[in-house]
């Protein structure tokens, strides 16, 4: 007995560098690699989620359709990217401004900072439902507030022209604090010396911000934008709750469309090919942003 357990011990010792990570590798394989591989496999099939007819292999036909024939999908791609640029752009500007504000010392800063990050804690679905009520063109508080300051009512999510912006506003409301937090952490770690040098050289605050703060803060900001961009590209909950992609298809992003294809129309194979395409879009955006972070020049 002692010999065999000793042998096992020696074997384990010899293979420790494989043995110890094995559970983690296995877990990743089962919950990440397998679903992705299965989705890719599914995307090469035509299947309507039926028990009587099995999936049948159609090669790249689904991809040919999304790339060449399906105008609804192509519009959804453009809309997804546009939504992300609008929402994340606004969040970055506002988040940075808030970070600069909260980086100063003033009375009540701690309390205000806590309040400012509250939207991040809320559940998107609940927020969506609340905003639907606030956006209601005749019963909602948003138009009431506009009327108080003398503006005429808007249609918010109730018009093709404004729906995407109204949704982006909800995203901005909820996620600006995330950019603020990351930027704030970045600001806190900045060295004092460059500012003192700039001050001695007579640089204005604006110039100091532009030439010192922003370049030094860039790595932190890129990380924040990366997080947000990945999230915004795959936004689902608020759109699904508030407009279901409407009016008409005016706020239908890739994720909403692929959800419809999979769970409303049951075109499982076709939806899988869209999921793979969305994966590629998110991956591409991430790679670009990571490259921006690594490059040393603006």
């Amino acid at each position: 007995m002692p010999t065999s357990s000793g042998r096992l011990g020696r074997w384990a010792h010899r293979h420790a560098r494989w043995l110890f990570p094995a559970p983690a590798v296995l877990l990743v394989a089962v919950i990440i690699v397998y679903p992705i591989a299965y989705t890719v496999w599914m995307s090469l099939q035509e299947w309507f989620a039926s028990s009587l007819t099995a999936p049948h292999f159609i090669g790249l036909a689904n991809y040919r359709k999304i790339a060449l024939a399906d105008a609804r999908f192509q519009e959804a791609v453009g809309r997804t990217v546009y939504f992300t640029i609008v929402a994340v752009g606004a969040e970055t500007v506002l988040g940075l401004a808030m970070a600069l504000l909260f980086n100063r010392q003033f009375w009540g800063r701690g309390l205000l900072r806590t309040l400012a990050i509250l939207p991040m804690v809320a559940t998107p679905t609940a927020i969506g439902l609340v905003f639907v009520m606030m956006y209601h063109p005749s019963l909602g508080v948003a138009n009431y507030l506009l009327s108080v300051v003398g503006l005429s009512p808007w249609r918010w999510t109730y018009s093709s022209q404004t729906a995407l912006y109204a949704l982006a506003m909800v995203d901005v409301w909820q996620w600006t604090p995330l950019i603020m937090l990351i930027a704030l952490a970045g600001l806190a770690s900045l060295p004092r010396e460059p500012y003192e040098a700039a001050h001695l050289d007579g640089a204005s605050t604006l110039r100091a911000f532009w030439h010192i703060t922003l370049p030094l803060l860039r790595p932190a900001l890129v990380v924040a934008v990366l997080f947000r961009a990945i999230d915004a590209l795959k936004t689902f909950d608020i759109i699904f709750v508030m407009t279901q992609g409407g009016p008409a298809n005016a706020s239908e992003t890739i994720n909403i469309l692929l959800f419809n294809q999979a769970f409303s129309y049951f075109n499982m194979g076709y939806a899988s090919s869209m999921a793979v395409a969305l994966f590629a879009v998110v991956m591409g955006a991430s790679l670009i942003l990571i490259k921006v972070r690594r490059s040393t020049t603006w």
Binding site: F48, S50, S51, S138, Q244, G246, P247, A248, Y265, F266
Partner: protein
């Protein structure tokens, strides 16, 4: 073929028995002779949907448990989530669900083609499985055809039947001496007379895509339009153009702001807030109009049948039912539950609670008449609508996809696009989808 013959024989047998023995065929003694306890000790699992019908039913499930000696477990999810869960369970062939609540207007053909409904024809004929007082012929013709497939197999027992009706504000109609419209031609002039924004808008109908597809037939059917002609898409006919033109014009000119994205929730909210003079939608929404905690128009709402038109007089109806899962290991026991859930006693309970059911015997039920929950014209409008009921959506596999296709066309028309143009696109998409799914 065999299935169809069996069904017909079942109808005839039941009808003949009813005719021969008169009203005394269902004596208590006979009803008691039916053995509800055949599957005593079994356990059933049901997949239910959040729905007014289920709200009432759930409270009485313990009664079924003591009647049958079975244990019943169930899960109730919102409709869309329930459908997703069903799809996952069924494609995985888990067999864990014995019976389920099914929205036939969406699922009928897809679930049938996927082989998920267990055909009930043989069960309905089997006197050991179907209690003599169940009475299949008591269901209205629309309810019976709604649960029957093209090959004659019966996929479910009809539970809840929604019919589109005409809701109007009696207090606004009265002073102007107005009455609900008899024909579509009367509708727009009527709406125009009542339109007084921003206090009162002439009419509210669903604008949101997909949701609007269930209200559009209220105009389309009387206009003479249909979804299919000889199995081909028929969305670009002149009747369709006239219907979408009227639907979108009514909302564009006389609807509340933002109506293009209104689902039933926003529609009924603006009607209950007193902002709309006319609202056409499913009859079951009415129970909230008469609820003083939610509505400002309690007692002011009139109920009428939809107007007729050059194509005839119709009410689009939508049927949900109780179905037995073809993968269940307890199909007969599950059928007992479905049968109990849709029997006469439960139908009366539903109607008492203001939930519409497809059993004609409930209409004259003394219990309902003695304690009506809803105004008398609600019951009249509902019954009259069931008599002219027609399945509100095309009976195809891709119902949801169709609803999105026509829904987008309607929304574009409301926002001002030419009807013929949006329908041409819809026609193309619809035919492409039919080619893909109906083959």
């Amino acid at each position: 073929m065999a299935a169809r013959r069996l069904t017909r024989r079942a109808f005839l047998a039941t009808a003949a028995a009813g005719a021969a023995t008169g009203p005394f065929v269902f004596t208590p003694a006979k009803a008691q002779s039916f053995n509800w306890k055949r599957f005593q000790g079994k356990e059933l699992f049901l997949m239910l949907t959040k729905h007014p019908f289920i709200d009432v039913l759930e409270k009485n499930i313990p009664e079924f448990e003591s009647l049958s000696g079975m244990k019943v477990k169930w899960e109730t999810l919102p409709e869309i989530q329930a459908r997703q869960k069903m799809t996952v369970e069924m494609t995985a062939n888990s067999g864990g669900i014995d019976a389920f609540f099914t929205s036939l207007h969406v699922e009928k053909k897809r679930f049938w083609k996927a082989g998920w409904y267990h055909p009930l024809n043989k069960f309905l004929q089997d006197t050991a499985l179907t209690s003599p007082d169940f009475d299949w012929n008591d269901f209205s013709p629309g309810a019976r055809s709604g649960v029957t497939q093209p090959d004659g197999s019966i996929s479910a027992l009809a539970a809840f039947i929604d019919a589109n009706v005409f809701f109007y504000r009696k207090d606004l109609f009265g002073p102007k001496n107005l009455a609900p419209p008899k024909t579509l031609a009367d509708l727009e002039p009527l709406v125009q007379k009542l339109h007084a924004p921003p206090g009162i808008y002439g009419i509210v109908l669903r604008g949101l895509k997909n949701a609007n597809a269930t209200q559009y037939p209220s105009i389309l059917f009387p206009m003479g339009g249909t979804y299919l002609k000889d199995g081909k898409a028929a969305l670009d006919t002149k009747e369709q153009v006239a219907a979408i033109d009227m639907y979108s014009k009514l909302l564009r000119q006389y609807g509340p702001p933002g109506v293009v994205n209104f689902n039933w929730y926003e529609c009924s909210a603006s009607f209950m807030q007193g902002q709309a003079a006319i609202y056409m939608d499913g009859v079951n929404f009415a129970s909230q109009f008469e609820d003083a905690t939610k509505s400002k128009v309690v007692g002011k709402v009139g109920y009428a049948v939809l107007p007729s038109g050059p194509g005839g007089h119709f009410s689009p109806i939508y049927i949900t039912g109780m179905a037995v899962n073809a993968q269940s290991r307890n199909k007969e026991a599950a059928y007992l539950f479905c049968q109990w859930a849709t029997n006469k006693a439960n139908a009366v309970r539903e109607l008492m609670a203001g939930v519409g059911v497809g059993r004609t015997s409930t209409w004259d039920s003394p219990e309902v008449k003695a304690k009506p929950k809803m105004p008398a014209d609600w019951y009249q409008a509902y019954q009259a609508s069931l008599k002219i009921g027609r399945q509100g959506l095309p009976e195809i596999v891709g119902v949801t996809e169709y609803r999105d296709i026509i829904g987008v066309a309607i929304q574009k028309a409301i926002e001002g696009a030419p009807p013929a143009q949006v329908l041409a696109q819809a026609q193309k998409d619809f035919q492409e989808m039919l080619n893909r799914t109906e083959g």
